[in-house]
């Protein structure tokens, strides 16, 4: 099961992030999770939102370069060793993490880990086999 993530290209200049979040807010789009990866010249903003299509259209219409990628959302108990356990499975399967970020849900019991792997199918299979809960986009928005 995969979750659609929005990725936006950002030049490293002030106000860009503020502009994006304001545009999304104006369209009533809720951001569930985000991360920013950056280099000296540019950054990539990755977003999990409650309405992917609308978010994409909004940002595109405002002149941003937008891409949609599939990621995997894994739910783990928010306690010591939660992430380590998942990564152990990943390592045993010789999978590579391209990037990851995490957020804690509202009740504070569980953490959600967002992953992009080099081999997504294998990762889904391995994580499912070892008993991890993989969330859908809908489930994330319902958290």
């Amino acid at each position: 099961m995969r979750v659609e993530q929005i990725a936006v290209f950002l030049e490293n200049k002030s106000g860009r992030l503020a502009e994006i979040t304001a545009k999304l807010a104006a369209e009533n789009i809720n951001i569930r999770a985000l991360s920013v990866a950056d280099t000296a010249d540019f950054g990539i903003l990755r977003l999990i939102v409650d309405n992917v299509e609308k978010a994409k259209t909004t940002l595109k219409n405002n002149g941003f370069t937008v891409g949609i990628t599939n990621v995997i959302a894994v739910e783990v108990a928010d306690k010591t060793g939660g992430l380590a356990g998942v990564l152990k499975t990943i390592e045993e399967e010789k999978l590579n993490v391209e990037y990851m970020y995490a957020f804690v849900n509202k009740t504070g019991e569980n953490a959600v880990l967002i992953f992009r792997f080099d081999d997504m199918d294998k990762a889904i299979e391995a994580l499912g086999r070892t008993g991890y809960t993989i969330l859908s986009g809908k489930e994330i928005c319902a958290l």
């Binding site: 990725a7 030049e11 280099t39 990755r46 002149g63 941003f64 937008v66 891409g67 391209e98």
Partner: protein, 435 residues
């Protein structure tokens, strides 16, 4: 006292010079008309025959030659002699990948060596000098052109070529280099490296520097002279005409470079109308070679902006002087001595899958080095959510540009629509250098 290499030719009264020029021009036009079809076709189309050249002003009747003509006849189509008489070729980068090729007979090499020796003599060099030749050796005319001239002069040539700056300084110290040949920006690079290595230029034997192949300002000249404790003089040339040694600044004169008019006939034209402009006016520099065998050229438009100064020079040479080149009529950039056309960069970008034609070239001078950044708008086709992929893309573009031009540049991805769209011709280049 002024040193001359060929005193008679260098100090000839204008009347005598012009009669030699006319004789050589008539001979050249007749030969080119007979042997090179593209020239003949252009002259026929313009309705001019070799016999129509009765005075130097008749030169204006002949059609111009442009870089495009060289490209259309790539590689050897404009050579006037069979290849078994050609002993060397040189090439410079073309505007869309195809280089411009020029050739030399044995006699051409002798002519060129003599002109370089004459140029070095203008700078006060003699057979007693150790000449440090830091121009690049290879297809570029700079390195080998200067090399042969130094040998012809009878001086000792140190063929160091470019790069490996620390070693160059060691050589300068140990070999007691007295004359430096380099691009002006490389000369400043040498000066800075000396500073970093705690080498005092006053401990070196350097006396004079002969700088060319890229535009440089009077401020830069002052800086080179101060930092290297030398006299810095200008040399001018281009491969289509012969290479370095077309014109040279003398030690005595204040401004401008003496054009070696017994071999090259200069004109200044209005770049828009093609009309020849009166003496002293600023315009595009046009050259006709008078003595070259393998690759003569008639009315070649250099696209360099300059002026011809006919007043007397303190050195006693009667050869006209051209002012330091103050600009270009096209969009050619010179980055660290290398000719760069925006179209070449565009060619690389268009060859990169998914890259859109929205780009901009930003040139700066940081310290004393030219830097070039190519900004490319990120389209959805090339965008990835992984940093690694975007960085691989910029690296690939960087390497392709380096392969094509030999110049390292920075490639920067920018957001779409951030590069200014202009009506008509796009503003491709932002040159922040103050030249």
């Amino acid at each position: 006292m002024t040193l001359y290499w060929e005193e008679e030719m260098e100090t000839l009264p204008r009347v005598g010079l012009e009669s030699i020029q006319l004789k050589r021009l008539q001979h050249l036009v007749a030969r080119v008309y007979k042997t090179v079809a593209p020239y003949r076709e252009k002259m026929d189309a313009a309705g001019v025959k070799p016999e129509d050249i009765q005075s130097l002003t008749d030169l204006a009747k002949l059609p111009f030659t442009v870089k495009e003509d060289l490209r259309e006849n790539y590689p050897f189509g404009l050579f006037t002699v069979p290849m078994d008489q050609v002993v060397r070729v040189h090439a410079s980068s073309g505007t869309t990948g195809k280089p411009t090729v020029v050739g030399y007979t044995k006699k051409d090499i002798r002519t060129w060596s003599g002109l370089m020796a004459r140029a070095l003599t203008c700078a006060g060099a003699t057979s007693a000098d150790m000449v440090h030749n830091a121009y690049g050796y290879g297809l570029f005319t700079g390195g080998l052109g200067a090399h042969y001239g130094i040998e012809r002069l009878g001086a000792t040539v140190i063929p160091v070529s470019g790069g490996n700056t620390k070693r160059q300084i060691t050589i300068m110290k140990d070999f007691k280099s007295s004359v430096l040949l380099a691009t002006p920006s490389y000369a400043l690079n040498l000066a800075e490296t000396m500073e970093a290595l705690d080498v005092d230029p006053r401990d070196l034997s350097l006396r004079v520097g002969v700088f060319g192949a890229e535009p440089w300002s009077e401020n830069m000249r002052d800086e080179v002279e101060r930092k290297l404790n030398i006299k810095a003089v200008d040399i001018y040339g281009l491969s289509e005409v012969i290479g370095p040694g077309v014109a040279m600044q003398c030690l005595e004169g204040e401004k401008g470079m003496h054009i070696f008019e017994d071999h090259f006939l200069p004109e200044i034209i209005d770049p828009d109308t093609g009309e020849v402009l009166p003496p002293g006016e600023k315009g595009e520099l046009v050259f006709t070679t008078l003595t070259k065998e393998a690759f003569p050229i008639i009315r070649y438009r250099t696209k360099d902006i300059s002026r011809l100064l006919y007043d007397d020079c303190a050195c006693g040479r009667t050869l006209v002087r051209m002012e330091k080149v103050t600009g270009r009529t096209d969009d050619m950039l010179i980055i660290r001595g290398v000719n760069v056309f925006p179209s070449q960069i565009e060619h690389v970008l268009m060859g990169t899958e998914g890259v859109e034609p929205h780009y901009q070239i930003v040139v700066n001078r940081e310290g004393n080095m030219d830097t070039m950044a190519v900004e490319v708008e990120v389209s959805e086709d090339i965008f990835s959510d992984e940093i690694k992929k975007l960085e691989n893309l910029t690296k690939r573009i960087q390497m392709d540009i380096k392969d094509m031009l030999g110049v390292t540049c920075r490639v920067k991805l920018v957001e779409p629509k951030t590069i200014q769209r202009s009506e008509g011709k796009a503003q491709r280049v932002i040159d922040n250098r103050k030249l």
